[in-house]
Symmetry: C2
Subunit: 109 residues, 2 copies
């Protein structure tokens, strides 16, 4: 794998890694229904506010969410709704012991 290719996949992996955590997945899912403050989110997931803040900072660092200050609090929101489509595929994989077209093609080789 040449350096350029490696860098490409490393960059992609960084984005995916940002999503690869139960709490962050929940946050993204929740933010897909509207923006929310750290405090609100912290009540939903049961964790220290500092922990939630770090999770959000990580998501922001990868460009998945954005933040906007309004007075005392900071509202986080989802930047790219397409990540939700991804969840659908994940669900497919989760319950997909089922045989796929690819499986069949593979078997008859």
């Amino acid at each position: 794998m040449d350096p350029a290719t490696r860098e490409l996949f490393t960059a992609r992996a960084r984005v995916i890694k940002a999503l690869a955590h139960p709490t962050r997945l929940f946050l993204v899912d929740h933010l897909s229904r509207g923006s929310a403050t750290v405090g609100e989110l912290r009540e939903l997931v049961d964790a220290d506010m500092s922990t939630v803040s770090r999770h959000l900072a990580l998501l922001k660092g990868q460009g998945i969410v954005q933040d906007r200050r309004q007075g005392n609090q900071i509202f986080y929101s989802l930047r790219f709704p397409c990540v939700l489509d991804f969840f659908q595929c994940v669900e497919t994989v989760l319950h997909g012991s089922a045989t796929t077209t690819l499986d069949l093609m593979e078997r008859q080789k």
Copy 2:
């Protein structure tokens, strides 16, 4: 977050985590173009065969790839092509400093 919800997101995170690595991402991408043996893949990514084998085992453990023995070698193949759609969204996030519709809606609040 109630236990059931937590378990749901943990399960999803497991699948996503399996993809969250440059080498595994490359493997999935390559397998989307056809099945391949561990030896073939090991030449493409520059790593110990045992390392590649472990990455594949991890992907298999999450149901993302499957394996099929044929004589001396083992062919791996992708089970769910939908993971590729995901990559497209990742690309969007990567280059998407651009303003999205959601961004605009968010700003005028």
